[in-house]
Symmetry: D2
Subunit: 347 residues, 4 copies
Amino acid sequence: MRAARLYEYDEHMNVELKLDNIPAPQISKPGEVIVRVGAAGLCRTDLHIIEGVWKDIQDPQRTLLPYVLGHENAGWVEDVGPGVTSVKVGDPVICHPLRSCGVCLGCRRGEDMYCEHGSFPGLNCDGGFADYLLTNERALIKLNPNVAPVDVAPLADAGITAYRVAKKAARKLTPGQYCVVLGVGGLGHVALQSLHELCGARTIAVDRSENARKLARELGAHHVLDGGDHVVQEVRELTRGGAHAVIDFVGELGAEQLSWQMLRQGGTHYIVGYGGAVQVPTVHMVISEIAIEGSLVGNYLELVELMELNAEGRVKLHGQHYRLEQINTAIDDFKHRRIIGRGVIIP
Amino acid sequence: MRAARLYEYDEHMNVELKLDNIPAPQISKPGEVIVRVGAAGLCRTDLHIIEGVWKDIQDPQRTLLPYVLGHENAGWVEDVGPGVTSVKVGDPVICHPLRSCGVCLGCRRGEDMYCEHGSFPGLNCDGGFADYLLTNERALIKLNPNVAPVDVAPLADAGITAYRVAKKAARKLTPGQYCVVLGVGGLGHVALQSLHELCGARTIAVDRSENARKLARELGAHHVLDGGDHVVQEVRELTRGGAHAVIDFVGELGAEQLSWQMLRQGGTHYIVGYGGAVQVPTVHMVISEIAIEGSLVGNYLELVELMELNAEGRVKLHGQHYRLEQINTAIDDFKHRRIIGRGVIIP
Amino acid sequence: MRAARLYEYDEHMNVELKLDNIPAPQISKPGEVIVRVGAAGLCRTDLHIIEGVWKDIQDPQRTLLPYVLGHENAGWVEDVGPGVTSVKVGDPVICHPLRSCGVCLGCRRGEDMYCEHGSFPGLNCDGGFADYLLTNERALIKLNPNVAPVDVAPLADAGITAYRVAKKAARKLTPGQYCVVLGVGGLGHVALQSLHELCGARTIAVDRSENARKLARELGAHHVLDGGDHVVQEVRELTRGGAHAVIDFVGELGAEQLSWQMLRQGGTHYIVGYGGAVQVPTVHMVISEIAIEGSLVGNYLELVELMELNAEGRVKLHGQHYRLEQINTAIDDFKHRRIIGRGVIIP
Amino acid sequence: MRAARLYEYDEHMNVELKLDNIPAPQISKPGEVIVRVGAAGLCRTDLHIIEGVWKDIQDPQRTLLPYVLGHENAGWVEDVGPGVTSVKVGDPVICHPLRSCGVCLGCRRGEDMYCEHGSFPGLNCDGGFADYLLTNERALIKLNPNVAPVDVAPLADAGITAYRVAKKAARKLTPGQYCVVLGVGGLGHVALQSLHELCGARTIAVDRSENARKLARELGAHHVLDGGDHVVQEVRELTRGGAHAVIDFVGELGAEQLSWQMLRQGGTHYIVGYGGAVQVPTVHMVISEIAIEGSLVGNYLELVELMELNAEGRVKLHGQHYRLEQINTAIDDFKHRRIIGRGVIIP
């Protein structure tokens, strides 16, 4: 099969993925499933992997290369192991990014990402920038009849990461309160829509790109700001004292320090983007009684919920399509912020 | 001032309110406020009061009559006691139905209805079917500039009762799950809108009246049923196994027994309407692990939240207007189900 | 192997289990495990099964008999399927009663009892009143080194049922509030201890048996009542207005109707025992804003938590031992309330 | 009356309080209450006030001095305003530190510390190191008959700060999980006891002082560590992967940076002590999905709950007594860590 593989990490990203012809994956365990890839989302984490940011975590022994990237996958079931009962060959499916065990305490709690024996195709084993992908039954959700893989693949990771944090924030937010969404890209635009569905609070979208702000307005953000020098002050005035929640999809370049300053007493700063560092005096944490919370990729149940919202047309993905052969063009466009919404690779 | 007063309880409702001319109420305590009534909602509880259903609770000593009905009030501040600081004369306000103390544990928990020293104008003291109403500072919410008393008065009781139960249900509901709303009248139509704002679940509106079903469709109910003989079966099929929540605004005439039968395992039946009785085998409660919960009028904070949704046009009240002189006509229309949405009395 | 089997349902319980010699179970699927039974608890549900109360649920086709009862099992791993990784032969284990699939939404939520493809050994397939039991990897928890199967077997079902409901109640209870425990038998005595560990509320134990009351006092119940004619009044006085929670382990013979009458406004009546029916006017549900909730057997995570409390000596099981040959004596003692705490069958 | 007043802020604390004879406070508003001080706790915040750490917050106009310190007060009602109904002259009471309004949204939510119109005796107006204290009805809790002011005064602030954070942590902790308590002083020793009452998790007490560790052991901490160089590693080993919660009562001198490193994935670091700053890479926040939360003084309801636990002997305060004349000795002992538990000033 065709597969786009990474051969070396490079801090400066002066490397391209190579389109190889390699043997398709085979089933070796009862619960495994082969998926014919219909589409695979392109994620900022892919860039970070290429840069080597993650290599100590996903590839500590340096035995992984060359391998296939792509961890936001959807397609059709091609083959199933003998223990699989919930999907059959031909079913259209979206793949939760984790291949989890179902037995450890993390899985029991429904938090697939905490699985003690999980693997993460596209991160620490072969992913979906290829014709076929090896995953397992526990990762799969059957698509609703009116939904095509190409329209949803990035929901598998970008989507549920945004949905998870929106759901966390929504749980505490009430009508009349304010939630800031910092960064309206592949994740932020899903978070905005999810917030509008999950709670009655008002949203304030912040992005330096005019295209992103346009998208935010179309998606019904109650306020849209351009993230200029006075953004903290603007938010504090707009909210008459500070936002109740800030979701930071940037997490670097200073955004992470502005975020908690936008909060009112009792507010929460959710961190999803990364690269920088938060630094807060403990006296401020205490007097303002604020919380700062990291948020990870969503779990399987969250993907189920998001797929329901998507099937009803309530949360849509704005994507830009590329053929598998164009993978390096897609990566280049992404690096230079030429993609609106999410890039999607189609084998 | 003019005031519509009840002179006797009558099981068969063969009595009318009498439009009296009585002295306007005066302030006697530091926290009290006089409100010039702009509008007062007409509630099914008013009918029940006239019938004497509530007399052992609101009037155990039988010393109350004659008195002024009307517990869903909005208007303008006319006079304030010396301890009042948060509103001033002329402010347009909506009145939470309870005049609560702010000191007891119920008030501390934010549950004004649990106040140990509260009074309830229109129930156990003079209410708002009159030119002026005596209440206190803790009951008042200033209206947003674009909101008029006549458009919101019934939110003060019908509205928050519906909002409270919708919020309870929403807290447990996720996208893809189902909530049945039984009865789309003055409360039900607010609950439907609130559910759509507060969570991503699907709603199933049930009402025997075609007008009510039409309203439900306009408000975006995902499914609308006519509540015929097979309604339990219809809900179970539509939801592939039972609803996750049922909100029963009827609570009598058999609806209360159908409600919990519509639930799937782990579901919750919320009771708001009353008159009948639920009867469930304990073995069914246990095996199905269902919950049955009564739900009361909302608290002050819930009214604040609802007013925010209303000010943004996200939860609207459908009302039918009557002048104070027409109070008995309004009551008659209500009895004979000739009111769509909520009746509103304007002094 | 030896196995105590039921050959017919009998409403009057004029039947005995028969001690058969049958082939030991064999592994046929990758995730299955054979457990050598160390001990099996005797449960009131076993009596109900014999009476035929459950036959329409566990045996709708009437194809089950004869079969082995016993659903509260602990012992040692005897054999494992090829897919099993978390336990090995010889490990001492306790068995969650459900053999769940790990793939359906119920399992994902951590609610093993809601598994769409689960089986329940001792209920709808062969159980643990035998030398060996067939279960699966997902059902097993390794015992702490200092814990023996015979000391914990009934925690597998009676224990987690009591723990689950105690945990539900504890989540809402605060110091100074009151929780009534109605029935201090096999479940109630675990609930009492669990409540004391999980929250700071006060407990009121109610039982008609002097032995049970003695046990309640030893376990630190803050108040102990004998459940006489005035028990509702006694609870209301003791609690100055009603209990915040009532856990009803009886669920029949009138207890189910007394329970919700013991509640104060906003309180919750948890139903665990069954046989009777609750009947409550909807107006009472609404005005008192009470909730009535059924509660089922606990999930795997709840068993993990309970085993931790048990290993630390904070929740102990009071049991009475019988050899497998004495199974019918044990059943007879149980019927005639001659067992204090829980009966335990040892093969 | 006698009153210990501060005349100037001094960074190096080279100042003493002066024992003045000043007029006793008088009632001027309907809800006010004069309390005859029975005892007043000495708090680290008093030292910080003297140092001037708080002056920009409590005394921005520099108009406060000289004034009476002391914000942890208990005593007897001496006089009540005309609007007061829930306490009467002679009642023994403990004073919540905030004099809150009862009308703003903060008060409605039960979070007295968020009151928009509150004052804080001993911080921004005259406090309790004196014979009499001016407060209001909303601040008062009547003491149980068996409780004396001198035994509980510090619960009014130190106590509820510790209780609040313990309650937050307990809400997420389950049996078998671990909570680290960093610093076993006036707050930490209350937090330890509260955790033991509110949840079934295990506690790990950390303190550099042998006396504090001794107290921790007496209070039943499951593990006690001396906070040496390897404390992070010790906690990670003891907990097999990291603690589920860390409560940091130090908040400076490096403790604030060690705290979040002790956490396992999904854990929470609660900050109560202050002086330093937390600095965490956003990538760590995300991958570990940890939360860092500030926690403030508890609210009135939390003080009610704590008083119940105290009245039952389940949470005790370890105090060291001083006469009002010895106030400067007490401060000196506190500075030099010669007080075990909490210093208490008795007028």
